[in-house]
Symmetry: C2
C-alpha cells in the first residue's frame, strides 16, 4: 500500500490526518501538483481525473478521491471510528462532512485558484469571482460557528472525518487563501484550537 | 418518513431516482427553491444549510445532503445494492460518484447559476465565469465518454449511485444549463440512453 501525496494541497492533507488518527503508517510519494507532475501519463494512468491523493492498493489497483480512500481504510481499520458505526451514524457524519467540504472547502479552494499567482496560466482566472468566494468563506465561518455552538465537535460529541475536513478547510482558507478567521467567532475558535492540538494536525 | 423535495433541482432528483431504484415509496412535500421557501425559518430549522432534499426520519430528526440520505436508505434497504457491498466496493463507487459530482455536476450547476435569469439577484453572478464553467462541462463530457469506454456503467459492470449522479448531471447540464452533449461521444450517449430508459429516470 502506498499513497501519492502532495504536502501543500488540502485533500492529501485530509487523508494524512485520517491515517494519523487511525495510527497507521503508509508509505507516501510526493507528486508536485504545482509542477504538473500529477498530469504526467504515468500519474494519469493511476488517476485519470488528475487529482491527489491516490492510493495504490497491494494488488496494484489505484483508488482516488480522499473521502473514498478514507472509507476504504475505515473498512480495514474500523477503530478508532471516524465515519460512523452504523448506517444512521454514517449518514449524519457524511451530512456534516459534505456541508463542510462543499460549502467551506470548495469556496476556499476557488478563492485561492482564482486569485493566486500559482494558478495563473493553469486555469482561466476570474479574480472578481475569487473575491466573491472569499466573502462566501467568511460567511461560512460564521455559519459553522453557529452550528458548532457548544458541541465539542462538528458532527456532535466525538471527533470524526467532518472535523478533519473542517480543520483542513479552515487552515487552507486562513493560511493559503489568506482569509482571516474572525476572533469573535468563539465556538469556531475553540473547536479549531482543539482539533489543531491533536498530534494528527501535524500530518 | 418524509422527503422535502423540489422537482426542478438536481440533488432532489438524485434522491428520487435512488428511492425509485430501491422500489420504495416515501411521501414528499414540495419546497419551492426559486421562491426561497427553502430558507424560511421553518425549513432552516430542518436544514440550516438551506438546501434540498431533506429527509424527516420517523423520530423527527432531519437528515440533509442527498448522498447522506442515500447512504441511510441503503443501510435500511441494502438491496438492490447501489453503494457497494463491502468497504472496497463502497470506496470505488464513492470515487466514481465524487468524480461525477465534483467535476461534472458542480461545474454544470455553477454554469447555470452564473448565467441564468433565475439566479439574478439570488447570487452575485459572474457571467464570464459561468461561460468558462460551460467549457469545463463540455470537457468533462469528453472525459466521461473516455472513462466509460466499453463499460456498461460508470463504476463498472453494474448500475450504482455513480450512474444516478451522472444521469442527473448530464440531464441538468443539457436541459437546464443548455450545454449540448456532442453526439460524437458514443460511449456517453450509449450509457445515457441506457440509464434514461430505466423506469427510475422518470422520478
Amino acid at each position: 500500500m502506498k499513497i501519492y501525496d502532495f504536502t501543500l494541497a488540502p485533500n492529501p492533507r485530509r487523508l494524512r490526518i485520517f491515517v494519523a488518527e487511525k495510527g497507521l503508517k503508509i508509505p507516501t510519494e510526493q507528486v508536485d501538483i504545482f509542477a504538473g507532475k500529477n498530469r504526467t501519463p504515468e500519474m494519469l494512468a493511476k488517476n485519470p481525473a488528475g487529482g491527489l491523493p491516490v492510493m495504490e492498493l497491494d494488488d496494484g489497483t489505484h483508488l482516488a478521491e480522499s473521502v473514498a480512500i478514507c472509507r476504504y481504510l475505515e473498512g480495514l481499520h474500523p477503530e478508532p471510528n471516524l465515519m460512523g458505526r452504523d448506517s444512521r451514524e454514517q449518514a449524519f457524519i457524511e451530512m456534516w462532512n459534505r456541508r463542510v467540504e462543499l460549502n467551506l472547502l470548495g469556496p476556499a479552494a476557488r478563492a485561492f485558484q482564482h486569485t493566486n499567482e500559482l494558478f495563473k496560466g493553469r486555469i482561466k482566472q476570474f479574480p472578481e469571482y475569487g473575491a466573491a468566494q472569499r466573502e462566501t468563506v467568511a460567511q461560512q465561518f460564521q455559519w459553522l460557528d453557529a452550528q458548532i455552538g457548544d458541541k465539542p465537535f462538528i458532527a456532535g460529541d466525538r471527533y470524526t472525518i467532518a472535523d478533519i475536513t473542517g480543520e483542513v478547510a479552515v487552515d487552507f482558507a486562513v493560511q493559503l487563501a489568506g482569509i482571516p478567521m474572525d476572533p469573535a467567532l468563539k465556538n469556531l475558535g475553540r473547536w479549531h484550537k482543539a482539533v489543531s492540538s491533536r498530534p494528527s494536525a501535524k500530518a
